[in-house]
């Protein structure tokens, strides 16, 4: 196995570093952190680490999650493993590099404090090569507006868990459009449906984190 294949394998397995006990059968072995450092030291192109190691690994993780082969905890380990590698190569990636697919501003709508789903979406998008601006939870519409004004090209992801809070998503989209901002918006959350997305004028809907990556790529006309 080449070092890039090993990085990919470790991300898929969710093995962060030698101290990580997950998964059991890799306890004590080198993880993404050490292997990425090793690859950088050996002079392997950081773009290759990203495009041949980290990103394809997260695509596989997303598929496993969607197929119910892994669940939220295992996905969190993979996302943390990916992040440990990404942090090491980030300083070497040039600003405005075309390896960054695009920017996504994301937040849980006002009135709603849920963020497991939103965070998974952030991790998967980051793992797919997007730059993330995570506004957090309980975000009022003007905050989305402010972020969109600073990033008129960015995609906007809005999350809500409950019927009562998903109503607030409409207010965000209305405020953006009233300010002549055309950022593409995609929404998700337990109660959200494609029909609701259409009704409030969102351009996209994602049932889960993997679908969110597909939607973001669809907006940018990138092959999923």
């Amino acid at each position: 196995m080449t070092i890039l294949e090993s990085i990919k394998h470790c991300v898929v397995q969710g093995h962060i570093d030698t101290t990580s006990k997950f998964p059991k059968n890799m306890d004590g072995q080198k993880g993404v952190r050490e292997l990425t450092q090793q690859a950088i030291t050996e002079g392997i192109n950081v773009e290759d680490i990203l495009t041949q190691g980290l990103i394809p690994a997260m695509t596989i993780v997303g598929q496993h999650y969607e197929n119910n082969e892994i669940f939220v905890p295992e996905m969190l380990f993979s996302a943390k493993a990916m992040k440990s590698g990404l942090e090491l190569i980030k300083p070497f990636l040039l600003e405005g590099s075309d390896l960054i697919l695009g920017k996504v501003i994301i937040g849980t709508v006002q009135g709603d404090l849920h963020d497991i789903g939103k965070n998974l979406v952030c991790m998967m998008l980051e793992g797919a090569g997007f730059e993330i601006e995570d506004l957090g939870i309980n975000i009022p519409a003007p905050k989305f507006l402010e972020a969109a004004k600073n990033n008129p090209e960015a995609l906007i992801g809005i999350s809500a868990l409950l019927t009562v809070t998903m109503k607030n998503m409409k207010g965000v989209i209305e405020l953006l459009r009233a300010n002549d901002l055309n950022n593409k918006v995609f929404i998700g959350g337990a109660s959200v449906t494609p029909a609701f997305a259409k009704e409030i004028g969102a351009e996209g809907y994602a049932k889960n984190a993997n679908q969110a990556v597909k939607e973001a790529k669809r907006f940018l006309e990138i092959e999923a």
Partner: protein
């Protein structure tokens, strides 16, 4: 309130939960928000007597009662302009128990702290034609809420002994509640609620829930079986991956709430309708946003699924929060009372 209001018949409700009757469709809810109760009754519904009057006036055969206990997690408040009531949720990152040190320091509730006074009062006040459903739950949910979901996920693999100790603590308390409730003759249905799934699948692996949570459910199932009373299990989300365990190992008789985004009622009825009574199913989102006429149409669809087969208790696909339209909630009940007979 309703022209077709039925006289309560708890025995019929019980038999429906056992999937044994086929006469008419009973009503069920896990929770009805105090503001909704107040809106319908014109006054707050606070004590057991009011609760009985309220449920009876809407056509329910039962009141649901819980033991009293408070377990501190790590909650924050969110204000929402759409509703008068602020909502609180546990942090999904940090909890009050994150490691062994905080586990040891935590001021754990004791079995002697459990308060059964409401259940005892209900036993004295419940009329003969109604019954008491003893309900509690959330062993799994309380564990992750106390730990924060992210920390809980990590510790699941990094420190499974801590996870086990958490389940032992919370599970011990909850089991004590069910043992006590099952020992009360006037408690004639047991209802355990604990969300383990999302609309796309389980939150954690089937192996995890089978190892840590289901042994408790199995014990509750045994308590219900010994008393020959129904055992309802509530979890949001898609449960197909664990359905055989719920039915065959644990012995639930009834499943609630059958969220339409997660499991289709007609499909579920075809798959497990011979083994389980299904409860709920009417989309809360529709109850919030549709018109009463649309709710009548939706409710009729469910009645048709159950027609000739029974095994359905009608209700919302979760509970009745304050932001459901009152007229929609009443339209759902009215349609069931009027048309859910054969």
């Amino acid at each position: 309130m309703f022209s077709h209001l039925r006289k309560p018949n708890f025995e019929h409700f019980q038999q429906t939960l056992f999937n044994k009757t086929n006469d008419y469709i009973p009503l069920i809810e896990l929770g009805i928000h105090p503001d909704m109760r107040k809106a319908i009754m014109g006054k707050p519904v606070t004590n057991v007597k009011d609760e009985i009057a309220f449920m009876r006036s809407l056509g329910y055969d039962f009141i649901k009662v819980q033991p009293g206990i408070h377990i501190e997690t790590n909650r924050s408040i969110a204000k929402n302009a759409n509703v008068a009531t602020d909502r609180s949720w546990s942090s999904e990152h940090d909890g009050v128990v994150t490691d062994w040190e905080s586990f040891e320091k935590y001021n754990w509730a004791k079995i002697s702290d459990l308060d059964y006074s409401r259940l005892e009062e209900a036993g004295k006040l419940i009329p003969d034609d109604m019954g008491i459903v003893g309900q509690y739950g959330d062993i799994y949910t309380t564990v992750w809420e106390m730990m924060g979901f992210e920390n809980f996920s990590m510790k699941m693999y990094e420190d499974p002994e801590l996870i086990k100790a958490m389940f032992d603590k919370i599970g011990g308390l909850v089991m004590s509640m069910f043992e006590t409730m099952a020992s009360m003759d006037h408690v004639k249905v047991l209802w355990y609620s604990d969300d383990i799934a999302y609309s796309s699948g389980l939150m954690v692996s089937p192996d995890f829930v089978r190892e840590y949570l289901f042994p408790y459910l199995k014990r509750i199932g045994e308590l219900a079986k010994k008393r020959n009373i129904p055992f309802i299990y509530h979890s949001d989300g898609v449960l197909y991956d664990v359905m055989p365990y719920l039915i065959d190992d644990i012995g639930i008789t009834s499943l609630h709430p059958v969220e339409p985004l997660s499991m289709d009622m007609a499909e579920l009825k075809d798959r497990v309708g011979d083994k389980l009574c299904l409860c709920g199913g009417i989309d809360v989102d529709q109850l919030c946003r549709a018109t009463p006429d649309e709710i009548r149409v939706l409710t009729r669809k469910f009645i048709e699924i159950a027609r000739g087969r029974g095994g359905w208790c009608a209700g919302s696909s979760n509970s009745i929060p304050e932001y459901v339209k009152t007229e929609n909630y009443l339209a759902m009940i009215e349609t069931v009372l009027k048309e859910g007979n054969w």
